[in-house]
Each structure stands twice: as structure tokens, then as C-alpha cells.
């Protein structure tokens, strides 16, 4: 029995996920106890229960069946996104303008899963090569569909997570490094050019070195790519300066919240104060002054990391980061040892998704990242996101159980 469990049951994922969800519950309890007498806590507890069932179910689904039906499931789930768009428009009067905030569930959270299933199923086909241009275009279309629908809502943060999942999957599947650089370089160049001349030059230098090392045999193409990126930098700079002042300020604040300490930067600064004042050992459970005085808006959703950061200090931060590190490195290992490509791609894609969420969310709480409203997996308050992450964890456990099958 014991060895059976060891063989098929991924204890690493199981226990890290439960531990993270537990920390999330404690944090939500602490952050919301005062105003609503723990109602949010109990609601989240209920969601953890639902998520647990969802996780186990995903673990038990036959992986082969998923692989065969991945595209069908994907298109069906796109229907869900379309439905949201249509339903929002049909209703008469005020509601037709209100958008979708009132909806209880966010299909976009679940479509992430089906998109990854479709990507993995497509890229693991024996006739598909990540180096083949035609196949690459098709793969990109797969991801472009949900992103397009989500941008219509519009939800910028969620769209970004799809891209963050897509690029590592391409890389893992064997796409050329040169291609990956072509995709991601412009974003870095554009951001750097707004920051100033020095960051711009540094990014260009790094890009130049990278391109030279990769394409030493094709100097011409490397030079073209480099030139295009330089041009992008200048164009972005010119466009930026043409923007009205208040919009320039908005962009600058997005990239560096410290520019606007009382507007968009307010949360970030309060979050930094909360975390910093936690010190090494923290102020104790339910004793964080910033948390308890509700200085930080949205604390139980996007800024949840402040709660362990303030109340349990550096120690609490290490525990949370450590748990995520275990989960993510385990994910990479899982992707490496899985014998079938479908499972391997699922593992790496989901790991990438988690990585993006963790780095951006915590990075934003400690003032290193722009404020993009995406949740911290397993910790942030919210039913749809929690259940979808637990489903993902279940799917990764499924890959583990099937890791030896070709």
C-alpha cells in the first residue's frame, strides 16, 4: 500500500498545496475578521473544500482521454467565453453596459486550463514540430483565440498570464532560442526605453550579446532583429512623449508605482510598509497594525502576501516563498521525468503559469513589479481562481501518476 502510494501519489504537490491554502485561510481570517466577522474566511474554507474535490477528480481523470479530447474540450470552453460576451449584451437597460463584474464565476480562469490542455495535445502530436513555422503559427492561433476573447472583456492581466504560459511551453517543446528572443525582446526594450536612456542601452547590450552568441553563423538575421528592436525602442519613446501628460504619468506609474505615492502607488507603498515593518519575526497573528487597520486596499485578494509578511515577518515570507519554490522546482522535475510529451508539456506549462503568478504578485507586493491585478495562487481570496489552481495541481499530480507511461 505504502509503495503504491509512493508510486502513484504525488505527495510533494499535495502537501505544498494544502499548506499554501492553509496559510491563505489564516491570512484571510486575519485581514477580514474585523469588518465582516470571519464571513470571508468561511466562504474561502468552503472553496478550499470544493477545490479539494476538484483536485482529486483531476488527478483521477484518464490522461489519455484528456489528450485525445483536449481540442474538443478547449473549443467547448471557448464557447463559455463567447457566452459571457453575448449574455452581457442582451439584457436591456443598465445591465447591457455593466460588463461582467457581476458574474459569479470567471470562465477565463478555467479556460487557462483548457488552453494548456489544447497546447500540450497539439505540440505532443508526432507530426507537429515546434521548429516548423506552419506548426508555430497554428499553435499561436490556439492561444490567440482565448486571449482575443478575454481582451474583449477587457482583462489585460489575465491575458498576460496566457502569454506567460505560452512562451515557456514553446521553449520546452524545442522552439529555437532565437525565436523566443524575437518574441520577448520587444517587451523589454519598450519598457526600458520609457525608463530612460541607461536602462535602454543596458537591455540593448544584453540583447546584442544574446543574439551574437545564438546566431553567430547568421550575422545578417541577427543584425536585422537587433535593428528592429532599436527602432521599437525609439518609436515607443516618441509615442510616449506624444501622449498627454496625465497618460504619461499613468504609464510611468504602472512601470514604477513609486512615482505616484498616493494614487496607483498607494497600495504598493502601504504594502511595502506592512511587509517591512514585519521585521524578521513578524508582529504576531492578527497583530499586524497595517493589516488590522486595513491600510491596504484589496488586501485579501491581490495583496494577500502582506499579511504573512507583516504578521510573520521574514520567517513567514521564507515559508511562503519556500513552499512555492518546492512546488515550482518539483514541477520542472516532473516535466523532465514524464515519459510522454503531453504530460511533460502540461507540467511545464502549469509550472510556468504558477511562476508568473507568484513572481508578479509577490513582486508587486514588495514593490518590484508593476501592479497587475492577478491573484497569488492558493492564497488570494476568490472561489474561481482557487478552484482552478487546485484543478491544475490535480492535473500535475495526474502527470506524476502517469509519468512512466509513453
Amino acid at each position: 500500500m505504502n509503495s503504491f502510494f509512493k508510486e502513484y501519489f504525488d505527495r510533494t504537490i499535495f502537501f505544498t498545496v494544502l499548506a499554501l491554502a492553509g496559510i491563505g485561510l489564516l491570512s484571510i481570517y486575519s485581514a477580514t475578521y474585523d469588518a465582516y466577522e470571519g464571513r470571508d474566511f468561511f466562504r474561502q474554507l468552503l472553496w478550499v473544500g470544493v477545490g479539494f474535490v476538484a483536485m482529486i477528480s483531476m488527478m483521477l481523470l484518464p490522461l489519455r482521454w484528456l489528450q485525445r479530447n483536449a481540442l474538443r474540450i478547449f473549443f467547448a470552453s471557448l464557447g463559455l467565453l463567447v457566452l459571457v460576451l453575448i449574455m452581457g449584451k442582451r439584457v436591456y437597460g443598465s445591465q447591457s453596459w455593466l460588463g461582467f463584474s457581476g458574474l459569479g464565476i470567471q470562465p477565463s480562469e478555467f479556460v487557462k486550463i483548457t488552453t494548456m490542455l489544447a497546447l500540450a495535445a497539439f505540440l505532443s502530436r508526432s507530426d507537429v514540430k515546434a521548429t516548423n513555422l506552419k506548426d508555430l503559427v497554428k499553435t499561436s492561433l490556439l492561444v490567440a483565440l482565448p486571449i482575443g476573447l478575454i481582451m474583449l472583456q477587457p482583462d489585460f492581466g489575465t491575458s498576460l498570464t496566457y502569454i506567460a504560459m505560452f512562451i515557456p511551453v514553446l521553449y520546452w517543446a524545442g522552439a529555437s532560442k532565437f525565436l523566443i528572443i524575437i518574441i520577448i525582446a520587444p517587451a523589454f526594450v519598450a519598457a526600458a526605453s520609457i525608463f530612460g536612456t541607461t536602462p535602454f542601452l543596458i537591455v540593448l547590450l544584453l540583447l546584442g550579446i544574446g543574439l551574437f552568441m545564438l546566431r553567430a553563423e547568421n550575422q545578417f538575421l541577427a543584425t536585422v532583429v537587433f535593428g528592429v528592436n532599436v527602432a521599437i525602442g525609439f518609436v515607443v519613446q516618441i509615442l510616449y512623449e506624444k501622449l498627454p501628460l496625465y497618460q504619461q504619468k499613468r504609464v510611468a506609474t504602472f512601470l514604477d508605482p513609486n512615482n505616484d505615492p498616493l494614487g496607483a502607488g498607494y497600495n504598493v507603498i502601504q504594502a511595502k510598509v506592512a511587509i517591512g515593518s514585519g521585521g524578521l519575526w513578524g508582529k504576531g497573528f492578527m497583530r499586524g497594525t497595517q493589516t488590522q487597520l486595513s491600510f491596504i486596499p484589496k488586501q485579501w485578494t491581490d495583496f494577500i502576501f502582506c499579511v504573512p509578511g507583516e504578521e510573520f515577518g521574514f520567517l513567514g515570507g521564507i515559508v511562503v516563498l519556500g513552499l512555492f519554490a518546492i512546488l515550482l522546482f518539483h514541477g520542472v522535475r516532473l516535466a523532465s521525468i514524464a515519459k510522454n510529451r503531453f504530460g511533460s508539456l502540461l507540467a511545464i506549462g502549469f509550472t510556468a503559469l504558477f511562476t508568473f503568478h507568484v513572481f508578479v504578485n509577490i513582486g508587486m507586493s514588495v514593490g518590484l513589479m508593476p501592479v497587475i491585478g492577478i491573484p497569488l495562487p492558493f492564497l488570494s481570496y476568490g472561489g474561481s481562481s482557487l478552484v482552478s489552481y487546485m484543478m491544475i495541481a490535480g492535473l500535475m499530480m495526474n502527470v506524476y501518476a502517469n509519468r512512466k507511461e509513453y
Binding site: 436591456y92 443598465s94 505615492p261 517591512g276 514585519g278 521564507i318
Partner: protein, 608 residues
């Protein structure tokens, strides 16, 4: 090309990226929580900036002529900061505000639970006497302050109780659902268009930044308020309502129970929507004293109930046009088909009565004189399915989705309904006879009836009824208009001509039952109805439109428990249409035209 899937090099690169990310985060945490911990600790302890939300000014409501119907006026609110307040002064505060001490305590506790350091509302809209008493005892009432707020105000005679609805302090249940956008004590639209257009009316909250220490005590405004974000005013609603017609309809129904709905058939815009008895909206805006609320809820006239959209009564003879349209359009009869009315109709062993002995009547005359016998027999000829189908095409049996408030869908009986109620095959044609004159199970709301009148006026063109014609941002001048659903019930011109001519004669020709709806100098068409009611006198109906050739207003009037539609509902409709078409009542001054004596209406069914 070699297959590079998950190659060792790629695994390494991904692990390095992960490692680097975690190292950066860990380093940053170390920097914040160890190297700079003291700095941040001090900042958290000594001086923090808190943002206090500032409520925006609620949008205004205008009528179709640009007349202001709903605006705001200033009011004084008593605010109290729980941590600063000396509890021993509770009795003093209670007596000044004439509130029970327990209630004040309740409010303070609620505020404390939310946040003890920011002021919470104790009482809205205090009187000047209360204000001066508070000023007098200022030294004892530490933590109590007066805040200027705004309160809904209704400058015209139009009460619009059910139409505008009220905006009041958010309840716990509402707060629970939308706690991202609201705080305790915020005002939220709860009924009518205040509720439906809450998102637009409420505006965007602003923020004021204040400095505060870790104990939560306020030190002062931060940086002289330079960073404060002012609130953004709510958007204004422009209604299709005509404030004068609304007020006129309200006054005409003053001592009655009933409803008036008038619609502009060209657009579907609602001109007036009245339900009586009603209530004074200003009593319910802001906070409602519990005794007022109790009185409203216990009133046997149920003033909070919107009769215009929620009642479901049989339409009576106003439904005869529907049957006539069906029969003519399906070529079940032509304009010459006639029956002989001897004052009653026997079917099996039951007798169905008519109000008069009409002799030989064909369709136009049957509508004109409202002959029941004609429609009893016609109903048997047409049958349930065609009739029911036509009713649904005119919007009966389903909600109009009007943008005002909740509504009843009514009931348009069909084969499924009868099978469900009586059992399959257990009901006979005899069950249908009274449906032909709009009695029996069929149930409609006054709003559906007004829409029916508008569709008859328009020869079948349907525009979804709505009260708000545009939403205007006064600052940017941006105008948004709701999309109005449109469709058409296509019937032959011949059918429309016959049925509408019958309706015209009801008001304009001798022997018609709706003569009291006349408007001087204008051709009016309509139909009266008298809905039987087992609990007392019949409900009176009138529905119609004017001018006949180019309809600008369609109307439905329903008065509960008074008797004949021609006597009680038609005159009200006449006055409303006159006010709308002329902008004033001219019948007494410009062209004296005495109201005709009330002729007895005819229809009334006595089965058995």
C-alpha cells in the same frame, strides 16, 4: 533538424530562471524586513497615510422636456469616531438626536466593527434645532462632528414613487454582496430607476488623504490635501417621462387604487407611470425612521407595491381586439361575418351574458358596442392555440424587461397551461368562452396593456418600453442611449383598419363605451374593460391611443374595485392624453365641452 524537446540545456535554463526569481524576491524581502525594517517599522508606527473615501454627488434626473425631476439638496449628518467618543455621553447624544440610546450604541458598534478610527454615520438629515444643540454641547461630545451631505430632493409635483424609486442607506445584505464598491452608510438605489441605474447615478468616489498614527488617531490632512482625489459626479438620466402628465395622472388617481401607464408609441419611451396609493419618496431617501417604514408596510393599500408592473388582473373587454385581430388575420371570419345577440349566449347548460341586446352585429360594431355574444362565439371559432399565440406576440405572458423595477409576467393561457391545470383532455371548449372577453385565467399588468395599446397604435410595431432615453455626463457631454429592442407583428392592413376603426368608434361615435376619454379636437381610439373580481367590485380598465391617424401617446388606466371602465378609467385617460397633446387642459377654457354623463358600461359575465 534535431529534436530539442525538453533537452538538458533547456531544463537548466528554466531552473536558472526560477532560481534567479526566487533569489531576487528573497533578497528584496531581506532588504525590506531586515536592512530597512527599522525604517518601515517606524513609518508604520508613527505616521501612516490613510485614504478616506468621499462620496460623489448623485446624478440628476430630467424629464423629456428637460425639466428637473430629481436632484439633491444639502443635509447635515452627524458623524462619530468610535475611538474618540466618551461613552458616558451616550444619553446626552441620544436625547439631542431624539434616538434611543440602544440605537445609537448599535450604530457606534457597527462602525467600530468596520473601523473604529474613521467616522461613522449616526444620523442623517438632522434638523436645525438638533444642529445647534450639538454645537452647544460640543465640548462634551468629543469625536462627534457634522458633515455636509446631500439628500434626494423632488422639486416638481411629480411624486414618481414607484418610477424613480428611492435611494437609501445600504443594508447589510446589499453590502455583503458588493463590498468592493460600498461602505456602511453609503447610499444605494434600492427601487425604481434609482436601483436600475445605480451604477451610473452614483458616480465615482473620491479619496481624501489623512495622516494617522499606528493607534489610528488622526494627526491631520496629509500634505495640505494636495493629493486628494476629488469624487466624480454621477451621470444624469434623461427620461422619456413628461413630468406634467405624470403629476396629472397622480392627482387623478389620488384617492383611488390603480395605475396609469402612458407610452410614446413612436419610441417606446414611457410618458407616465403611476401606481396609487403611493408614498412620499423624501420619507424614504437616506434613512427611514422605523415607524414610517412600519406604517408603509402595514398600510392595507400596500403603497410600496407597484401596481403598474406587478398586478395581474384579467383585462376584460380590452382583450376583444386581440381576438378580432386573430380571427381576421387567419381569415376565420371576414368583416361581414355576424352573429345575432339576444343578450345572452347558451353553451351546454351554461348561460353567458351580454349587457345589451345588440341584434345582428359584425366585427367593427361588436368592438364599438362591446358585444360579448359576438366574442363568445368567435372564441369558439378561433380556438385556444391561435388566440394564445397572438397574445404572446403582443407581449402578454412575459415580462417587458422595462428598466424600472421588478415586474409580473402576467399569464397568457395556452394548451400546456390548461393541460397542466386541468389535466390533458380534461378540459373542453366551454372553458375558453370567457377568455374571448378577457375574463378567466388570463392576467395582464397595466404596463403590458399600455404596450398593447402602443402596438395597436403602431399597427404592430413594437419598441421595448423604457423610461430612460439617455444617460448624460454633464462634464464631458458624453451621451449614451440604451438599445431598445424592436420588432413587428405583421398583419394585413385590412385587419388593422377594421379593428382600429372599431376602437375609434368606442370613443368617437354614439353607443361607444369609452366616450368619456374624448379629447377636444382630437380623434381618440380606445377600449374599455371591466375585470370581474371575486373579492368585490370590478376593476375598471381603459386603454387607447391618440391622435388616431398619427398616434403620439398610448395609454392604459386601471382602477381597482370601482366598477365600469367607461365610467372610471376612461375619463382619467382623456385628461392625461389632453395634458400631453396640448400641454395643458383646454376643455374648460378654449372649447367648452361638457363631459358626457357616465353611460353604464356593458360587459359583465355571469357564468352559470
Amino acid at each position: 533538424m534535431i529534436d530539442d524537446f525538453a533537452s538538458a540545456e533547456r531544463r537548466l535554463v528554466i531552473r536558472i530562471v526560477l532560481l534567479a526569481g526566487f533569489a531576487i524576491l528573497l533578497g528584496r524581502l531581506f532588504q525590506l524586513q531586515y536592512i530597512n525594517a527599522e525604517l518601515y517599522g517606524k513609518e508604520a508606527e508613527e505616521n501612516s497615510i490613510r485614504n478616506v473615501p468621499k462620496v460623489a454627488i448623485r446624478g440628476y434626473v430630467y424629464d423629456r422636456n428637460g425639466k428637473l425631476l430629481v436632484d439633491n439638496r444639502p443635509s447635515y449628518t452627524v458623524m462619530l469616531t468610535p475611538v474618540d467618543f466618551d461613552k458616558r455621553q451616550l444619553p446626552l447624544l441620544g436625547s439631542i438626536l431624539s434616538m434611543p440610546v440602544a440605537t445609537v450604541q448599535e450604530k457606534i458598534n457597527r462602525g467600530r466593527k468596520y473601523n473604529a478610527f474613521i467616522p461613522t454615520r449616526i444620523k442623517r438629515d438632522i434638523s436645525f434645532a438638533e444642529l445647534s444643540m450639538l454645537e452647544e454641547h460640543k465640548d462634551k461630545l468629543y469625536g462627534v462632528e457634522i458633515q455636509m451631505e446631500s439628500k434626494r430632493h423632488y422639486p416638481t409635483d411629480a411624486r414618481g414613487s414607484h418610477l424613480f424609486g428611492y435611494a437609501k442607506e445600504i443594508s447589510d445584505a446589499q453590502l455583503e454582496k458588493q463590498k468592493q464598491d460600498y461602505q456602511p452608510g453609503d447610499i444605494i438605489g434600492s427601487t425604481g430607476i434609482e436601483a436600475k441605474y445605480e451604477q451610473f447615478l452614483r458616480g465615482v468616489k473620491g479619496f481624501e488623504f489623512i495622516s494617522q498614527n499606528a493607534k489610528g488617531q488622526i494627526i491631520g490632512t496629509f500634505d495640505n490635501g494636495k493629493h486628494d482625489i476629488p469624487p466624480v459626479d454621477g451621470l444624469d438620466l434623461h427620461l422619456s417621462i413628461d413630468g406634467d402628465v405624470q403629476a396629472m395622472a397622480e392627482s387623478l388617481l389620488a384617492d383611488k387604487r390603480g395605475a396609469v401607464v402612458a407610452i410614446d408609441p413612436r419610441t417606446g419611451g414611457i410618458i407616465a407611470l403611476v401606481s396609487k396609493p403611493d408614498y412620499d419618496l423624501s420619507l424614504l431617501s437616506g434613512t427611514t425612521p422605523p415607524d414610517v417604514w412600519r406604517a408603509l408596510n402595514n398600510d392595507e393599500g400596500i403603497p410600496l407595491y407597484n401596481r403598474a408592473t406587478l398586478t395581474r388582473y384579467p383585462p376584460g373587454s380590452t382583450f376583444k381586439m386581440l381576438l378580432a385581430l386573430t380571427a381576421l388575420e387567419k381569415r376565420i371570419i371576414d368583416e361581414n361575418w355576424s352573429v345575432t345577440c339576444v343578450g345572452a349566449y347558451r353553451y351546454g347548460n351554461k348561460t353567458f351574458k351580454c349587457e345589451h341586446v345588440h341584434g345582428r352585429v359584425a366585427v367593427v360594431e361588436a368592438i364599438h358596442k362591446s358585444c360579448n355574444v359576438f366574442f363568445y362565439q368567435l372564441m369558439l371559432k378561433v380556438g385556444l392555440d391561435e388566440w394564445s399565440d397572438m397574445g404572446k406576440r403582443f407581449g402578454f405572458g412575459k415580462q417587458t424587461k422595462v428598466d424600472i423595477t421588478e415586474e409580473n409576467s402576467g399569464l397568457m393561457p395556452d394548451r400546456n397551461y390548461y393541460d397542466r391545470i386541468h389535466g390533458k383532455g380534461k378540459w373542453t371548449q366551454g372553458y375558453l368562452i370567457s377568455l374571448g372577453i378577457g375574463q378567466g385565467e388570463v392576467g395582464v399588468t397595466p404596463l403590458q396593456m399600455a404596450n398593447y395599446a402602443a402596438m395597436l397604435a403602431n399597427k404592430g410595431k413594437y419598441h421595448q418600453p423604457h423610461a430612460v432615453s439617455s444617460i448624460v455626463n454633464k462634464r464631458t457631454k458624453e451621451v449614451r442611449t440604451p438599445n431598445v429592442e424592436q420588432r413587428e407583428v405583421k398583419l394585413s392592413e385590412h385587419t388593422w383598419t377594421l379593428v382600429r376603426e372599431g376602437m375609434r368608434r368606442v370613443v368617437m361615435e354614439a353607443g361607444g363605451t369609452g366616450r368619456a376619454a374624448k379629447v377636444p379636437g382630437i380623434q381618440v381610439a380606445g377600449k374599455t374593460g371591466t375585470a370581474q373580481n371575486p373579492h368585490g367590485k370590478s376593476h375598471a380598465w381603459f386603454m387607447g391611443f391618440a391622435p388616431f391617424d398619427e398616434p403620439k401617446i398610448a395609454i392604459c388606466v386601471m382602477v381597482e374595485n370601482v366598477g365600469y371602465g367607461g365610467a372610471f378609467a376612461a375619463p382619467i385617460a382623456g385628461f392625461c392624453m389632453e395634458e400631453y397633446l396640448y400641454g395643458e387642459i383646454i376643455r374648460y377654457s378654449k372649447s367648452p365641452m361638457p363631459l358626457e354623463p357616465n353611460e353604464p358600461d356593458e360587459e359583465s359575465v355571469a357564468a352559470n
